[in-house]
């Protein structure tokens, strides 16, 4: 990851008081932009990424040389149309793509912070990202959008800054991380921390990487992103480059080989400590609790137009949890649209080529953008 110092980032000088009580200042926040900010500065959309995403939503990621994580949705003529909108994709603090995170160097010791990095929350991430509005001198965003953990950031952003986005698109997310969500995240963290190369989080100093643990974490998580039906249809009991079972523990089945591959490519691009910190932030996310058990209060007096989307086969952030957000918004008369998209692609649907999902977002954004502009004239 030698290219990291060439990435766009803003140095946040202001002190940010974190939920854990610690304060940080003079820290970098990485971002990428697509399209152009218009003269009125009314066409900006802030996109938040999911757990293992980064600021490279579209085009080619210069660090991994792979396609951006939301290439189906962001680009010229795409739902988040870069010919029309100015897209800012913000990295999260705690991440490993140029923002302040466990891999950052501690100026006092000249060594990576590792587990000396403070535990951060979704609220902290959003408060850091808010500085991008000042950076681009944008008074009000047209929209904030994101799926999964990105959706949680959307909810937190609108709650923290009720007048800063006209439209909010939280996709396949929840207002409160469930026991099952926490359980899966804990499984991933335990896999990392039980890798002897993890070295209590100081592996950078010792030049060892907990690759095996991180790969297992990714494999486990990857299963949660897919549906049973999707897996069955794609892999079934197909064997991997062999005609018979080998009566051993090599990857006999295609699904095993697929998961191993997913694990192995993940360790090349992601930092184990970042995985610990970001999953922790997700687990701590409970917007309902932040507002004394009443989620509606999180959006009190909001003028933002919400469009919430869930997927039929998503069992990680199921429709019922997305609907809880809709219900909380309806309870206060907020402007909210909601649809559950039919697909067998599981939680990952929001990242994939799901035409119904993509076309609905595209039309919704275009119509809403022109409606808002017409009203102003």
């Amino acid at each position: 990851m030698s290219n990291l110092n060439k990435l766009n980032s803003v140095l946040i000088k202001k002190t940010l008081k974190l939920d854990c009580g610690k304060e940080i200042s003079n820290f970098p926040l990485a971002y990428e932009t697509y399209g152009n900010l218009n003269e009125n500065k009314d066409n900006a959309i802030l996109i938040f990424h999911a757990l293992t995403g980064d600021q490279y939503a579209s085009g080619i990621n210069p660090v991994t040389n792979k396609e951006g994580w939301w290439n189906y949705a962001v680009g010229p003529g795409k739902p988040f149309d870069t010919d029309k909108f100015f897209i800012i994709c913000a990295n999260v603090i705690g991440g490993c793509m140029g923002s302040y995170g466990p891999g950052s160097i501690d100026p006092l010791t000249n060594k990576p912070l590792g587990t000396n990095f403070p535990v951060i929350t979704i609220n902290d991430m959003v408060n850091a990202q808010y500085n991008l509005l000042d950076h681009f001198k944008i008074e009000k965003l047209f929209a904030v959008a994101g799926g999964s953990m990105g959706g949680m950031q959307v909810l937190q952003f609108v709650s923290n800054f009720p007048n800063k986005a006209k439209v909010a698109l939280p996709i396949a997310c929840t207002a409160s991380h469930s026991a099952q969500n926490i359980a899966f995240n804990e499984l991933g963290r335990q896999a990392i921390m039980s890798d002897s190369n993890w070295k209590e989080g100081l592996y950078n100093e010792k030049s060892t990487n907990p690759d095996k643990g991180l790969a297992v974490a990714r494999m486990a998580a990857h299963i949660t992103y897919l549906s049973k039906q999707g897996l069955q249809e794609k892999f079934g009991r197909n064997l991997q480059e062999r005609s018979d079972l080998k009566f051993g523990f090599d990857a006999d089945f295609q699904i095993e080989s697929y998961l191993r591959y997913q694990g192995s490519v993940f360790v090349d691009r992601f930092d184990a400590n970042s995985y610990l910190y970001i999953t922790r932030a997700m687990d701590y996310f409970d917007l309902t609790k932040q507002f004394d058990g009443n989620l509606s209060k999180a959006f009190k007096n909001t003028k933002t137009k919400f469009f919430i989307i869930s997927f039929t086969s998503d069992w990680l952030y199921p429709t019922s949890e997305n609907k809880d957000i809709v219900i909380a918004l309806n309870a206060i008369g907020a402007d909210v649209g909601f649809v559950e998209i039919k697909t067998d692609k599981g939680h990952d649907s929001f990242l994939l080529d799901v035409p119904d999902f993509l076309s609905t977002i595209k039309n919704y954004l275009n119509t809403t953008y022109s409606n808002i502009n017409e009203r102003r004239i």
């Binding site: 649209g337 076309s359 919704y364």
Partner: protein
């Protein structure tokens, strides 16, 4: 523009909050937001139709009136509209109760099973009627609880629901339904449009 929607639109005052239950493709919602200054929401059970509405930027949520009306607080809308959907519910009585809870005023449109063509079909052909407003066969109809204008009128009266106004629609012809012409209008109307209040 459907005549029915014009009648509904006349019932609705400017600057009001409106909920369209069973909003379909959102045609009425679009008409109302273009022609009246209203703040309008929709509830629709069909995914396809919800996607169409959202594509037009309308605030529509996918849901079922029998289960999802409960999320709206008491009297949170000035008007709640239920256009030709009542007959499709498992429990229309409960739906009406909920509409009157959520809306200060409720507009209900019913396809009239008392229309003379319907009566003649059954009388002479001895078959379940299939008409423009009731285009289904008995085995594939979503309409579980058909009623006539008179039935619905009595339904409201028996429950102490105030009927402000009742409009008869027969083709392009719009007329008022009163107590005095109720039986006649029940024979000649294709649709009945009721403006109700608890």
């Amino acid at each position: 523009m459907k005549e029915e929607f014009k009648v509904i639109s006349k019932f609705i005052e400017e600057k009001s909050r409106v909920l369209d239950v069973g909003c379909g493709d959102g045609i009425l919602m679009e008409f109302l937001s273009k022609n009246k200054v209203v703040d309008i929401r929709g509830l629709e059970i069909s995914k396809e139709k919800v996607k169409k509405c959202l594509s037009k930027g309308l605030a529509v949520i996918e849901g079922d009136a029998e289960n999802d009306l409960k999320q709206f607080p008491d009297l949170s809308f000035d008007y709640v509209i239920l256009s030709q959907t009542l007959q499709a519910f498992m429990n229309p009585e409960k739906v009406i109760e909920n509409l009157l809870r959520v809306g200060k005023k409720v507009i209900v449109t019913i396809p009239n099973f008392g229309h003379w063509k319907v009566r003649l079909d059954l009388l002479f052909k001895g078959e379940m009627p299939v008409t423009k407003n009731l285009p289904y066969q008995w085995y594939d109809t979503p309409n579980l609880h058909m009623c006539t204008i008179l039935d619905f009128y009595n339904f409201c009266n028996n429950r102490g629901i105030n009927i402000f106004k009742t409009i008869s629609l027969n083709g392009q012809t719009i007329s008022n339904i009163k107590r005095s012409n109720l039986k006649y209008k029940n024979l000649i109307s294709e649709l009945g449009i009721f403006l109700l209040e608890k």
